[in-house]
Amino acid sequence: MSRRPPLAGIRVADFTWVWAGPFCTLQLAHLGAEVIRVETATRPCVTRLLPPFADFEPGPNRSGYYNQYNQGKKSIALDLKRPEALDVAKRLCAASDVVVENFAAGVMDRMGLGWGVIRRLRPDAIMIALSGYGATGPDSDKVSYGPAQVPLSGMSSVTGYRDFPPMHVGISYGDPTGGLHGAVAVLAALLHRAQTGAGQYIDLSQWETSMAVLPEAITAWTMNGEALPRDGNRDPSMAPHGVFRAAGEDRWVAVAVEDDAAWERFATTIGRPELASDPRYATAAARKAREDELEELVTAWTSTRSPEDVTAQLQAAGVAAFTAATNKDLAEDPHLNERGYFVELPHPEVGTRKHAGVPWRMSASDCRVRAAAPLLGADTDRVLSEVCGYGAAEIARLREAGALV
C-alpha cells in the first residue's frame, strides 16, 4: 500500500511570521498539508533577517532560523499594502481549507482579510489567529514579542537560580508552545469539519497557552496562596536532581535520582555502595534534607569524568542522566542520527544543511519534511496560476503594478 500524507489535499494560507505562527504551520506541513506562506520582500519575515546566515554571508534566503521553521512550505511574494494584492490574497483564502495568521489583533481586519470576509469567501474555512494577548479583552491591543511572553506568563517568576533574579528560559518559549497548541486546535477543527462540514474561527492567545503549561505554579497559588520560589534545577521531591560539573571546559551533565532504588544503583555505580543503606541518604526525604552535601558528593564524582562517560555509566545502571547537550552535540549525537531525526535536503542558496526534523514517526502515513524551506517568492507564479486561477497576462499586470514583491 502506498503511503499517503495524513493531510493530503488540505491547503493552508499562511499569513504568519516570526516563530509562533510558522511553527504552527510547520506541523501541518509535516503532516502533508500544502502550506503557502504569503511573504513580501518589502518587509521580509524577521527570521529571514536574523543569523545564523550560511557561512556568515547575509541574505534573505540564507538564514538558518527561517530555513528551519519553514521546511516543506511554499512561498509567494505579495505586498499586501498594494490594493491589487488584496484580490490575490482573497482568491488564495477562497482556495484554502485553513487560514493562519499571527499579526497583532485587528491587523487582518484592517487589511480586509478578517474572519467576516474569510467565511464569506469560503463557508467551511477554518481560520486561526495566534496573537500575543488574544483577540478580545482590555489588553488585546497590546504588543507582544516572543521573548516577553516568558515573563508575562509567569514562567520567569518561578524559573531561575535560588536567590537570583527571575530568568528567561533561553528561547522564546511562548512561541513554540503557542504554535503547537495552534496546530492541535486546527487539527481538531479539521476533524470536526470532516464530521459536520462546518468550519470555524479560533482565537489563540500565546499568553494563555503559556499559562496552560504552568499548572503547578498556578495551583500552588490558587490552593495555598503560595508563590513558589525559584529553585534552580532542583525538584520538590527527587534528590539529587540537577546539572553537575563534568570534566572539560564548561561541560555539564544532568543527573536525577528518581527514587530510593535508583539511589542504591547510583551509590553502587559511583563506587560508594555503603551510601545506599546510610540512613542520612536512604530515603527521598532524607536526601532532600541534605541536598547541599549530596550535590557536592555527586559533583566529586562527575567532575572527573566526561559527561558522556557519566551518562553511559549511570544510564547502564538505570539512573537517569544526560550530557548538557550543545547544538553541536545534538548534530553529532549517534542516537539521533541513527534514528534519522535530522533532515538534509538540498536548498538552492545554502546547499545541504542539517535541520531538525519531525519529532514523531507514523507507521503507515507519509509524514516527513518534504522539501527545504522556500526562497522568498519561489512559488508565486505557480500558485497564482494553479491555485488562484490567474492567467499569464493577469500575473504580468499584477507584477507590473508592484503587487508581487
Partner: protein
C-alpha cells in the same frame, strides 16, 4: 454545545505529564477519555502536588487535578490476565490509545503495537518515550531535568556573568508538556489519515526530538556557521533584560531602534542615554554592563504597571514579570474568562488554567473534574460487559 472531538473514544495509560497532557487536550474538546491507572499508587502525578496545606493526598494534587479533568478513571492491574483482557475489550472500541509507560512494561502487559493492531486494525496507538523507541539510547531514562539537557535547551539558559552556575532548566515538567503537544498532533494526524484509509497506525513520539525542534535559531548555528551556542554568550542586542522596579520585576524589550527612542523619552531623555556607548542596539549590547546599571537605577523608582502601560502606549513590547497572584488578578484574563474552577468531590474547589484557545463552533469546556482513583471502574467495565 457541539464539541470538536465528541465522536472519539480514547484510552490513556499515562504515568506523568506527557500522555496525560496529550489526552487532556483532546478531552477538553469533547473526546471520551478513559484513563487507566495501576492499583495502589495510581498515576505518579497524584503524588507530585502541589497539595492543600502541603499535605500529600493522592486525590488532591494540583498537577493531577489539572491534567485529568474531563476524563473518566479506571483501575486495572495490567500485570494480571483479567486486566489485560479488559484492556483489550476497551481497545476494541477505542479510536486512540496514548501511553507514556515504558514499552518494555507495555510489552509485558501484552500491549505491543503489533499485537494490538492485528486485533484492532482501526486503532491508533501513540507511544511517548524520552528517547523514542529505537536507537542506542532507547532504554535511557529521562525525567524533565535530563530531557531538558538531552534536547539541548538547558545549555541555552544561564547567567553570562556567572559561568560557575550550571545550565538551567525551565520551571516544571516542560519536556512532558512538549512531548504531550507533539503526541496530540501526531495522534490527530493519524485519526485524520484514518478517515481516508480506514486503518489505524502507530505514532511514536521522542521527547528529546520534540525539544531539539524548539531551539529557536540556535541549533542552526552549527550547520550554518560551525558555531557552538552557549548560555554564556552575551545578547547581541539590548535592552532585552530584567530589571527590578519598586514593586516587582519588569522585562525591558527594545528590539527596534524606535522602541528604544520611545523608552528614552519615557525615562525623560536622560543625558546618559545620548552617550555613544548606547547609540544603537548593537552598541547597547556590547556595553550592556553600563547600560544595565543606568536602567536599573532609573527603574528602581518606577512601578511595574505604570512603566508597562507607558511603554505599551508607545507600542513598546515590555512585559511585567507576572507572579501567579498577578495572573489571577489580571482584568484582561478575567474579561476573557481564562481561569476555570473545577469542583472535585474530595479536593473541593480548585482554580486552574482554562481554555488555551477559543473555538467559535466547538468551544473548550470543563465537563467534569478529574477522577478519584478507580472512580469509574464499575461504570466503564459495565459498558464493555465485564
Amino acid at each position: 454545545m457541539p464539541s470538536a472531538l465528541g465522536h472519539l473514544r480514547i484510552l490513556e495509560i499515562g504515568d506523568g505529564v506527557g500522555a496525560a497532557y496529550a489526552t487532556k487536550l483532546l478531552a477538553d474538546l469533547g473526546a471520551d477519555v478513559v484513563k487507566v491507572e495501576p492499583p495502589g499508587r495510581g498515576d505518579r502525578t497524584r503524588h507530585r502536588g502541589p497539595f492543600p496545606g502541603g499535605v500529600p493526598d493522592p486525590e488532591k494534587s494540583g498537577l493531577f487535578l489539572y491534567l485529568n479533568a474531563n476524563k473518566r478513571g479506571i483501575v486495572l492491574d495490567l500485570h494480571a490476565a483479567r486486566g489485560q483482557e479488559t484492556l483489550d475489550r476497551l481497545a476494541a472500541r477505542a479510536d486512540l490509545l496514548v501511553h507514556d509507560v515504558h514499552t518494555t512494561a507495555m510489552a509485558a502487559h501484552g500491549l505491543e503495537w503489533e499485537k494490538l493492531s492485528a486485533r484492532h486494525p482501526r486503532l491508533v496507538m501513540t507511544s511517548i518515550a524520552p528517547f523514542g523507541l529505537t536507537g542506542p539510547h532507547a532504554s535511557y531514562r529521562g525525567p524533565d531535568v535530563v530531557m531538558w539537557n538531552a534536547g539541548g535547551v538547558a545549555t541555552l539558559n544561564g547567567d553570562p556573568t556567572h559561568p560557575e552556575l550550571p545550565p538551567l532548566k525551565a520551571f516544571g515538567d516542560q519536556s512532558g508538556f512538549q512531548a504531550g503537544l507533539n503526541a496530540a498532533i501526531g495522534s490527530l494526524g493519524a485519526l485524520f489519515a484514518r478517515l481516508a484509509t480506514g486503518r489505524g497506525e502507530h505514532v511514536e513520539v521522542s521527547t528529546q526530538e520534540a525539544l531539539a525542534a524548539i531551539l529557536e535559531l540556535t541549533f542552526e548555528f552549527w550547520p550554518y556557521c560551525g558555531l557552538v551556542a552557549s548560555r554564556l554568550g552575551a545578547k547581541p542586542i539590548q535592552p532585552l533584560c530584567f530589571v527590578e522596579c519598586r514593586d516587582g520585576w519588569i522585562f525591558l524589550c527594545c528590539v527596534e531602534e524606535h522602541q528604544w527612542k520611545h523608552f528614552v523619552e519615557i525615562m525623560g531623555s536622560p543625558e546618559w542615554a545620548q552617550m555613544e556607548l548606547f547609540e544603537n542596539r548593537l552598541a547597547r549590547g556590547a556595553n550592556f554592563d553600563a547600560l544595565h546599571a543606568f536602567l536599573q537605577e532609573w527603574c528602581r523608582e518606577q512601578s511595574v504597571q505604570e512603566l508597562y502601560d507607558a511603554a505599551q502606549r508607545r507600542r513598546v513590547p515590555f512585559a511585567p514579570v507576572s507572579t501567579m497572584g498577578d495572573l489571577l488578578a489580571s482584568p484582561h484574563l478575567k474579561a476573557r474568562g481564562f481561569f476555570a474552577t473545577l469542583e472535585h468531590p474530595v479536593a473541593g474547589k480548585l482554580t486552574v488554567p482554562g481554555a488555551p484557545y477559543r473555538m467559535s463552533a466547538t468551544p473548550w469546556a470543563l465537563r467534569r473534574p478529574a477522577p478519584c482513583l478507580g472512580q469509574h471502574t464499575d461504570e466503564v467495565l459495565a459498558e464493555v460487559g465485564r
